[in-house]
Subunit: 312 residues, 2 copies
């Protein structure tokens, strides 16, 4: 983390572009937020229109920073999907509609500032590892569980990107060979069993009536047998996935975020117990809830932009 | 890799200590081998006796180097199990009998040389990634398949160690929830289905007669139905394990080593096809056989020692 001089007036323009909305902020080098705002993505308009909104919002934030007497020094943008961070290209972001969009250079040119492009979960992991629930650990696995499941392996504050910008796809590891087919086309992926959408789908299938994953968690806690069974199945598969992550990565701390983590102790308590059962020779990681909520992506985008400044 | 001046007479004393034997060598900074020798480990004598043999063999190699006009500059030792590389301690090497042995400092003191201690598979991965089958790739996963299965994730020539020296334990990821119980105590680990010992055990179970994994591979190739089935089951589970590795690590190249890899195309051809089937959004890694054979651990121990010299 870059610490500026006393009276540091530098800020980073940060945007976390999701399928539904964009979380945007002006972030100081110490990670504190000077200003935050949200905008709809409205992905149905097509990628060109979304890019134009990203650029206009970023420009507006930089103007606002200057008007407030601050100096915008960089811009960080996070997007989902496959991201080539070295090239600054959004390779494939299905729910935003991006395909090979050189977003880093587009933003940099519009703002006249150094820019960085990151993967939403990886930068979220960076933020949780440096500023959030993993801040005391050197080896952190951040796992975001929502509509999908993805992870970021963060060591000493940097997230592993992989050879093709696709590292950390823990949602697509096999946990149930006889399980439901995943959106990716393969059977039994973790995401097809333990994501919020998978929990809701499974409950609807068995109960014949719709309920969100949060509803299922609540009903399970209230003693409803069917909800309890669906919740347990999801937690057991999730523990299998995390145990695989621990066998391969060997981290100190696992930070659980995303929508499903809002279930709090209803998720973490049984998950911790199930993970413990699965630890044989490996050391059990500390399992904690994410601390930064849905601001993690935006903060992480700012951290990534600051890191890129340091490397220039 | 450190390149010395022309006429460089420096050598590294390198030992790869396994449950059965020790592979030992004098290795030049360019990775070429000046001299190699092997000794029995004879682990049944207890850890103190094994340590004394390690020290005596290392000392003998250093003397031999000097007698040949070379200058021993460091010593690298590789052991199996859980290794704390930063502390230089063999935390737990079941088949050698080590428990919390500060082997790095013991060797360093006996030889009066800087020393490094590494994990056998991780240093083997370093050697394959820098000098062997992965030398053109930046992101390499080395997978050693023998009695057990373990991996080393090597990026830019360095192997990930993890928070507790236990990263890369791909043998203990869940692939078959209904599968056989693993030596680690959990059901369905990759090692319990696809290791050389698992293949031999499964064949004996079904055929009622003993055969090595190599025999099973040969009989499968010759068209024996039962052997074909056992081999296919092992290859399919291995492909599931490698697909999980690719989802989490996202590498360019997977290098397959260990005893089972001696089956060559009988293993790699069906494994490559099965892995390809499992690649959906992820990029397919190049799948190749290890190039350094059972010298990889010894070469890697030398590389690790050279790396530690550079950091001093």
């Amino acid at each position: 983390m870059t610490d500026g001089p006393p009276g540091d007036d530098r800020v980073v323009v940060a945007l976390d572009v999701g399928g539904t909305g964009m979380k945007c902020a002006l972030v100081r080098p110490d990670g504190s937020v000077l200003h935050a705002e949200r905008h709809p993505t409205d992905a149905g308009r097509g990628p060109d229109a979304v890019v134009e909104t990203v650029l206009a919002v970023a420009e507006g934030l930089a103007d606002r920073a200057r008007a407030a007497g601050s100096t915008p020094v960089a811009c960080g943008v996070a997007v989902p999907g496959v991201v080539d961070e070295a090239a600054g290209v959004a390779v494939w972001s299905a729910n935003v509609g991006f395909r090979d969009v050189p977003l880093r250079d587009l933003v940099g040119a519009r703002l006249g500032l150094p820019a960085a492009l990151g993967h939403d979960v990886r930068v979220g992991g960076i933020a949780e590892a440096r500023l959030g629930a993993g801040r005391d650990a050197r080896h952190v696995l951040f796992v975001a569980i929502g509509t999908g499941i993805a992870a970021a392996h963060v060591v000493a504050g940097s997230a592993a990107v992989g050879a093709h910008g696709a590292a950390g796809e823990i949602g697509h590891i096999l946990v149930r060979p006889d399980g439901p087919r995943c959106g990716c086309g393969r059977p039994g992926c973790l995401e097809a069993v333990s994501s919020a959408s998978a929990v809701a789908r499974r409950y609807a299938e068995l109960a014949g009536s719709a309920a969100s994953a949060a509803d299922v968690a609540g009903r399970a806690a209230a003693g409803e047998e069917l909800a309890g069974r669906v919740w347990r199945e999801a937690v057991e598969a999730l523990a299998d996935g995390l145990a695989t992550g621990q066998a391969l990565y060997d981290v100190d701390t696992m930070v659980i975020g995303g929508g499903l983590a809002r279930a709090g102790g209803q998720l973490l308590d049984p998950l911790r117990a199930a993970l413990r059962e699965r630890m044989t020779f490996h050391r059990e990681p500390r399992l904690v809830a994410a601390a930064l909520g849905d601001e993690a992506g935006c903060l992480g985008a700012a951290l990534l932009a600051l890191d890129s400044l340091e490397r220039r």
